[in-house]
Symmetry: C2
Subunit: 257 residues, 2 copies
Amino acid sequence: MTYCLSLLCKQGAVFLSDSRTSAGMDNITIHPKMRLYSSPGERVICLMTSGNLSLTQTVAALIDEDSGRAVKEPGFPHLLNQPTMYETARYVGLKIRQVESLDRNALERDRYSFDINILVGGQVIGSPPEIFRVYPQGNTMHADHDSPFLQIGEFKYGKPILDRGFTYGTPLAEAVKFGVLSLEATMKSNVSVGTPFDIFCYEKDTFEVKYRSRLEEGDPYMRTVRKKWQDGLSKLVAQMPCLVFQGVETQPGQRME
Amino acid sequence: MTYCLSLLCKQGAVFLSDSRTSAGMDNITIHPKMRLYSSPGERVICLMTSGNLSLTQTVAALIDEDSGRAVKEPGFPHLLNQPTMYETARYVGLKIRQVESLDRNALERDRYSFDINILVGGQVIGSPPEIFRVYPQGNTMHADHDSPFLQIGEFKYGKPILDRGFTYGTPLAEAVKFGVLSLEATMKSNVSVGTPFDIFCYEKDTFEVKYRSRLEEGDPYMRTVRKKWQDGLSKLVAQMPCLVFQGVETQPGQRME
């Protein structure tokens, strides 16, 4: 299973992904799902993928082929010469459609679904940072100020913490914490999502890959966050008032015996 | 959509359900999903249902028919004369199989799935409290000390809070809080799960329905819990340490300009 998350903030954008891939519970391997591309000073693009590993790798291969070809044929369309983030996301959608024409029939003949979703985000000079989701059909949608995050894969366990507190105005370093907590919650509730976690924090208008990290299972930061979060939540639950049941003066479990 | 949750504790068991039923986003109505049955001093049984409303109502009707018949024919098998909680859950499974033979073919002919799940819990004199899940096939499974809760319906959003802190040893009044927070998280992340919430807290060896409540949307308890929880979580996130990115001395978003 996969969980990838991108958070859009006033100060930039944060990208997080797990790196566990499973073909059944007895076949779990580690593959990075985050890919970073940049033309320093001009653009930074982050891709995160979920779905059939063969399909996501094929999209990446097609992107790399185009980049190689553009070296010899200046102006050939590739990931890093699109005029906007929107066009960049549509370009990724075109690559998905190429893979679709290559593999979909063969997959569906054996009852595998054509399953691929990609988060594309970053900044192209002249526009603010943006994040997009590209669907298996190649069409796109983007986050905005009111709905400032996008998730693909196993998204439900990690959504409540974001719904509670993350907004477009959240400072960038705080957004990283929300992202880590969202991944940690998902890992706790679904064993097939797991470390290492890849994290990239992009600061608006820097046009460089500066804040990047990989958190392994035993990482002291992860251990500290997990412990503080667990202890803090337990205390917080204890601080909630007790429900007073209608027509009953006692609390359950408080009988004198 | 539906979310029903039952929590098994040393001191008893807690049952919670939402009451929103949807046949498409333009057709959301309120139906209770919790049903309580008791023979005071001898047994208390709580049923909570998810799936196709017609199917769950038909199961309830068959249960009521059996109870009616047992009044005239003493010893006729019904919900409240099974020797154990296990037999009670299997009895409910038999009712599901009866509905299956009534309706499954007609539903599947029009591509509706035979979708029904039931949580059955409570206590029968002579045994400790137990909670069971009954599947659409009529078979059952029960919670135990290591996995002390069962969920049906839209379960993922409300699972992280339980995974963090709820255990078999959690006091009964605290278990109610965990349950309310789990429902609240689900409601926050999925609009099709909503108030009123039905709550029943069963205290071990009482064999009576004593702690029972219905929380409506504007309920002051819900409002207080929501506010305290939201504020507390925000503070807790702020208290987490910042991630120190490898090879970088600054924090994202902290540049001096």
